[in-house]
Amino acid sequence: MAIIQTDKLTKHYVLGRKKFVVGLENVDLEINEGEIFGILGPNGSGKTTCLKLLLGILFPTSGEARIMGRLPDDIEMKQYVGFLPENPYYYDYLNGPELLLFYARLFSIRPDVAKKRIDELLELVELNNARRLTLRHYSKGMLERIGLAASLINDPKILILDEPTTGLDPIGCRDTRNLLIKLKQQGKTILLSSHFLSEVERVCERIAIFHRGHLLATGTLDALNKQYQAENLEDLFVKTIYAFDNQEAVKTGEPK
């Protein structure tokens, strides 16, 4: 059975009486245990909305989302999940170890275990030299990295990352990619969103393409390329999105 699952997941952002924006529309997703799954899509396609619904920050208009078979408000399930929000921002008056300790407490991790884990994680994301620096003085890439460390503090089974490589330089991107592969080898399930096609192409085993809240395609890269007669991910991306827009244009009778 899938470890992360959505069933006709729909989110309409209500703006006023009878006015709403489609965030997500009827999305059925299945992510298997131990895989790296990438959600792709242009800006505003519903990637973040989908992740927020899974984690219970937003509530679905209809349909449901489940992680490990549990609904998003399940506290026990969250013990096994790590999350990195997009453009993460943290308590900027704390330094790296203090921030990680704060989150460790929220997971009820024993202080001695937490201390060891914090040292390991700071080493892992190469922030060990900046232990005393408060987050206010971090660069964008450093914030992204401390965010990644924070999302790993509970040694999660499932890692949900919203655009983990935004703001990272090429070396940071490569390091993150290698880290993700290493984490997968440890048996973790990783769900990430991104618009960096090349990143996704290199690490993700299966992908989903979102557009205007709709799930356009999902599957392994090879299978999708074959299905859409695409040469590579970029080609596939463009083809599926154009196909959808044309279809919509026909439906509504608008000239393209």
Partner: protein, 254 residues
């Protein structure tokens, strides 16, 4: 429970970094200034003035801190989106709200203790030992401040900051005018109007109940029964607004 405390401590730490301490400084200056101003009075009258000004200042600046700390407690987490990193952890939304409430209470408490110590120091400096009536007055002020914080926190779970500030200060003023309200209700002949006004009177937090300083300053003592009853009122009212806060925050999308 421990997680709630973690959030409370973090809230407290954060506010200590902000300008809360300046408010305490202003408090000190006003009280010292006032006591200098009245030094032409007889020693006994001067003492009365010091008490009066200090009680009022502890209450007023405490209320300012309670309102602003409660507003920022939740809204900065949302504005800076740090709340995403909290609500995705294994904590209940109720732990978050209650953690915030205890954090704000801690801020109120520390500020209250600091200003009170300053006040008592001033009394001792003027060779007056604070008596039990002074203690009663301060105790009631403290519970009033906690109630003010709770109300603002609850409003913050479903309104905007601007509206919250207006509402909180409006209630602060109206809550202190309740005795006039009661009089007006008694004089009203129209039953419907009187009934509505009576309902409003019951709903509005009766901050004036917590104010015994006018009596204490002129030497009238207040019974422990009244003090206990008023504290109970404060605690009950606070619990009710916290339940309202939990209800709204449970459904809130961020």
């Amino acid at each position: 429970m421990k997680k709630m405390w973690t959030i409370a401590v973090n809230t407290f730490r954060e506010s200590m970094r902000k300008k809360t301490l300046y408010i305490i400084l202003i408090f000190a200056l006003i009280v010292i200034g006032a006591s200098k101003l009245f030094s032409f009075l007889t020693a006994e009258e001067e003492l009365k003035m010091i008490k009066d000004v200090s009680f009022s200042a502890i209450e007023f600046f405490g209320a300012l801190i309670a309102i602003f700390a409660s507003i920022t407690a939740i809204s900065t987490e949302i504005e800076r989106r740090t709340i995403y990193t909290l609500l995705t952890k294994p904590i209940r939304r109720s732990d978050f709200v209650l953690g915030k409430f205890f954090g704000v209470s801690l801020i109120i408490f520390v500020n209250f203790i600091l200003t009170t110590l300053f006040f008592i120091g001033l009394l001792l400096f003027k060779k007056s030992i604070p008596d039990i009536e002074v203690f009663k007055t301060l105790l009631l002020i403290f519970f009033e401040l906690i109630l003010i914080g709770g109300i603002t926190l609850a409003l913050g779970t479903f309104t905007t900051d601007a509206f919250n500030i207006i509402c909180s200060f409006f209630l602060y003023i109206v809550g202190h005018l309740t005795s006039y309200g009661k009089e007006m209700i008694e004089r009203t002949e129209n039953i419907v109007v009187a009934g509505l006004a009576d309902m409003l009177y019951t709903l509005v937090p009766n901050y004036e109940n917590f104010n015994i300083r006018d009596k204490i300053v002129v030497g009238i003592s207040v019974s422990w029964g009244y003090v206990g009853y008023t504290i109970l009122y404060g605690i009950l009212y606070t619990c009710i607004v916290l339940l309202i806060a939990l209800y709204f925050f449970q459904k809130r999308e961020i």
